[in-house]
């Protein structure tokens, strides 16, 4: 099921995991931008205006929660956010920040892709 190419921002402090996520998404033909913390992510959204953001919650410099707050404040029409977290209550965390979806670490590669697909905004 091939869909339109999207601009996805992966915010993840672990470079290996960020690379994996990017790999998987690019494999499906999406354009992936990577930020390693909230602050970088803020800069990235200005630059690329992503269609979807995969967001890790626990990061140095600026956490996922802080990023969401800043991002929402600065962006009148924010992109949907999928929380990727190791927290045991991922769903709760996602709800807290008003995310559109959540993926618990460790994730199944197919599940990640399926989740992202499901969240692609219909034009």
């Amino acid at each position: 099921m091939q869909t339109a190419s999207l601009k996805v921002l992966v915010v993840e402090d672990d470079p290996d995991l960020a690379a994996l996520e990017a790999e998987l998404l690019e494999e499906h033909g999406h354009h992936v931008e990577v930020a390693y913390n909230g602050r970088e992510a803020l800069a990235a959204v200005e630059r690329v205006a992503p269609d979807l953001i995969l967001l890790d919650m626990k990061m140095p410099v600026m956490s996922g929660r802080e990023f969401v707050e800043e991002y929402r404040r600065a962006q009148p029409s924010p992109a949907p956010i999928v929380v990727v977290t190791a927290a045991d209550d991922a769903q709760v965390r996602a709800a807290e920040v008003g995310a559109s979806g959540w993926i618990a670490k460790p994730f199944d590669p197919d599940a990640l892709v399926a989740n992202v697909m499901r969240l692609i905004p219909r034009p």
Binding site: L20, L24, V92, P106
Partner: protein, 790 residues
């Protein structure tokens, strides 16, 4: 003293008697008017001889009576059966002798003068008064002596023997022997005494009156004169010789009797001195002449009753007729003699009665004095220690009183001893109790745990040093009814809920609950340092089982709790940190396997091994995270109505049952079972149970999941039954404990961390359900849980 008792008694008794014994013969002689010296001598000799014989006999008898006492005195100290017998016979002698011996003694006086009088009548027959009723007079005399001797001898003997009897009574008392001897009441003694006091003077006066009547009786005077006249008349008839007449007349004459021969006209023939006597009495001669002219033989009395005149005219064959004439005069009363007798009598009475009274009073007053002294000492000192017993002097009411007092002292001493012993026991018990209390205090104060005790009302009665430290109180003085409030402390549950007063362990124990190791937190706003307490409490019951108070022991587990929290935190953080690398491992491994079609079989197998390893790590990480959630109490459950059937079906489908096993779902309640539960967490719990069932049924077989409901209790029940190895009975205790593994070190140790059942329990409990199991080694297990119906 011991040897001389008999001698002393005899000496005193007969010494006192001797004074009287010497006076009595004088009275006797006077009574019978034996006034001539030559008459008195033989009488006194007889009396003296009799007295000696009688007294010797009496002393012998007395000595025989008192012999047991002397023997007892000599043998005192020995303590054999023979000595007891000796004491008994001595007591009998001491008590009976004052009663028996005086009777013998007084009787000897009653009889004493009878032989004297008899011999008097023999030797002094010409003493006319003696012939008249001398026997009766002697008996009366003896009676007065008897009556005088009886009280005197009794008084002396009882006075002398009383103390000895008392000593013997004490000795008998020590041996626990009863008192022998005759009892004579005080009343009887006083009656006998008063009778004696009446009888002695009365009979004495009586004998005097009797004798003086004898002397003065007119008929006797006339008879005497007649007798003398008859005697002279017989002489006159026998001879006509004047010289013979004169000799006869003189021999018959006495100082009181004029014996003469007269002519019928009243002229005196012989003796010549009779004429003078007749002349001295004017009016007698004419009366004589008149009498002679009327009758030849007669006796007439002088009207003045001072004289009697008797005459006998004789048929005078030889010479002129003669008349035997006797004029008997009333003896001239010996005023001085009577005065002397009276004086003597008065002296005797004056000495005798007081001596009797003194002895008797002594014998009564002495025992009374002893009793009074003892009673006074008891009253004054208020105790009866070192109090001697009262000797019993006489077997009478006073003796019984003394005996009663003795028994009272015995009782008092026994009870005083009992009280002393009780007091000593009590003091010892108190000392032991005090020592125990001190030991207990020392133990309690050196305990790490805080110990609190309260009474029935809930007021704190004891708090040890650790307890004071826990509550941050400086001293027991700060202990109050509400110690928590006193310290400004607030007790909270581990989850932060405050304790209501009724929830405090001590007060719950007071209601009968036994609390074991319950956690609580004390928050002290002053120090801002919460104290974690692990408390146990139990009621204190009295002998009847009623709750008399409660005791609580609280341990400061702050450090342990802190360590525990750190450990849980570490687990949580570590697990979190593991998740990302696991995600990388899995992600890459799977991505590679999926995307790279060119992988060799060997490489693919390696990647699969990496994936499986990562999956296992993930399982452990999940377990650890669950544990930390449960332990840190941050496990959030979202109960919603869930279809239990579907949930069970999904769970069963999800577990990796091998082809050896068959999992069967059986429904006992056909109606749909909707429970209020967190779906994922319930699946997790059920999954854990199912996994265990599979794991411990290594030979395969059926696993049953049975669903039922109890509408009354409002709960649904799910049971997972296996027919596997089961759990040994001795390992079933801690089955739901974290990290507990019932099969550790057994052939059925199939690995695992001992987390599954712990988590199942935690999850079910937190959803308001219960979880339990039944198991039999070798037969399998049934694990059941309930969930509230929606």
């Amino acid at each position: 003293m011991a040897r001389s008792l008999t001698a002393r008694v005899a000496a005193i008794a007969f010494g006192v008697e001797l004074v009287f014994a010497m006076a009595i013969p004088l009275a006797y002689l006077h009574l019978f008017a034996i006034e001539r010296g030559e008459d008195r001598a033989p009488v006194l000799a007889i009396i003296a001889a009799l007295y000696v014989v009688r007294t010797a006999a009496l002393i012998g008898y007395l000595a025989w009576l008192l012999r047991p006492i002397d023997r007892w005195l000599a043998a005192s100290g020995s303590s054999s059966q023979a000595a007891a017998d000796l004491a008994r016979s001595a007591a009998r002698a001491a008590y009976d002798t004052p009663l028996l011996f005086p009777i013998v003694w007084a009787t000897s006086w009653l009889l004493f003068y009878l032989p004297v009088t008899a011999s008097l009548q023999r030797w002094l027959a010409d003493q006319i008064p003696l012939s008249a009723r001398a026997g009766e007079a002697t008996v009366l005399f003896g009676l007065s002596c008897f009556a005088a001797a009886l009280p005197l001898s009794y008084a002396i003997l009882s006075w002398l023997l009383g103390p000895v009897a008392g000593r013997i009574s004490l000795s008998l008392r020590e041996r626990g022997l009863p008192l022998p001897g005759r009892r004579l009441s005080v009343r009887a003694r006083l009656v006998v005494l008063s009778l004696s006091l009446i009888t002695a003077p009365t009979s004495w006066m009586g004998v005097h009156a009797y004798m003086s009547q004898v002397w003065t009786a007119q008929r006797d005077l006339a008879a005497r004169a007649g007798l003398l006249a008859d005697a002279l008349a017989r002489e006159l008839e026998r001879s006509a010789d004047r010289a013979v007449w004169e000799a006869a007349a003189r021999s018959l004459s006495t100082p009181l009797d004029l014996v003469a021969v007269a002519t019928t006209d009243g002229a005196i023939v012989v003796p010549s001195d009779a004429e003078r006597e007749l002349a001295a009495a004017p009016g007698l001669r004419p009366r004589l002449a008149r009498a002679l002219s009327r009758a030849p033989a007669d006796a007439v009395l002088d009207p003045s009753a001072q004289r009697a005149l008797a005459y006998r005219s004789t048929p005078s064959g030889a010479g002129s007729p003669a008349v035997a004439l006797v004029i008997s005069r009333q003896p001239v009363r010996d005023r001085a003699g009577e005065l002397l007798t009276l004086l003597l009598f008065a002296l005797i009475s004056l000495s005798w009665a007081p001596i009797c009274a003194a002895f008797l009073a002594g014998s009564i007053a002495r025992p009374l004095g002893r009793i009074r002294a003892v009673v006074t000492r008891i009253v004054a000192r208020g105790d009866v220690d070192r109090l001697g017993r009262i000797p019993i002097f006489h077997r009478d009411e006073l003796g019984e009183l003394a005996q009663g007092v003795n028994e009272m002292i015995d009782r008092l001493q026994a009870s005083a001893e009992r009280i002393r012993r009780y007091g000593a026991d009590r003091e010892q018990a108190l000392a032991v109790a005090a020592r125990r209390a001190a030991e207990l205090d020392a133990v309690l104060d050196n305990m790490v745990e805080g110990v609190f005790a309260c009474d029935r009302s809930g007021a704190i009665t004891h708090m040890n040093a650790a307890g004071l430290r826990l509550l941050e109180l400086s001293s027991a003085g700060a202990v109050s009814r509400a110690p928590m409030e006193a310290g400004g402390l607030a007790a909270v549950h581990p989850d932060g809920r405050p304790f209501s007063p009724a929830e405090l362990p001590l007060l719950r124990a007071l209601a009968g609950e036994v609390i074991v190791e319950e956690d609580g937190v004390l928050e002290n706003p002053g120090s801002h340092r919460p104290v974690f307490l692990r408390s146990s409490a139990a009621p204190i019951r009295d002998a009847t089982g009623a709750i008399a108070g409660a005791v609580a022991v609280a341990r400061d587990v702050t450090e342990v709790a802190e360590f525990d929290r750190l450990k849980d935190e570490f687990i949580r953080v570590a697990a979190h940190e593991l998740k990302t690398p696991v995600a990388i491992l899995k992600g890459y491994a799977r991505t590679l396997m999926r995307t790279d079609q060119m992988l060799s079989v060997r490489s693919r197998r390696m990647l699969e091994a990496i994936d499986r390893g990562a999956e296992r790590i993930n399982g452990v990480v999940e377990d650890l995270l669950d544990i930390s959630l449960a332990r840190l109490d941050t496990l959030h459950l979202s109960p919603v109505p869930v279809d239990l059937d579907e949930l069970v079906r999904a769970t069963v489908a999800g577990v990796g049952a091998s082809e050896l096993h068959r999992v069967v779902i059986r429904r006992e309640d056909p109606a749909p079972l909707t429970v209020r539960a967190d779906s994922a967490r319930t699946r997790q719990a059920l999954g854990n149970l199912l996994n265990n069932a599979l794991k411990y049924s290594p030979g395969g077989g059926t696993i049953e999941v049975v669903l039922s409901s109890d509408r009354v209790r409002g709960e649904a029940q799910a049971s997972v039954r296996d027919y596997g190895v089961g759990i040994p009975t001795n390992r079933q205790g801690g089955i739901f404990r974290l990290f507990y593994r019932a099969h550790t070190d057994t052939p059925h140790d199939y690995g695992g961390m001992g987390v599954g059942l712990f988590m199942a329990k935690e999850l079910i409990k937190r959803q308001g359900g219960r979880i339990w199991f039944e198991s039999r080694e070798g037969e399998g297990s049934i694990f059941s849980f309930t969930l509230p119906l929606a």
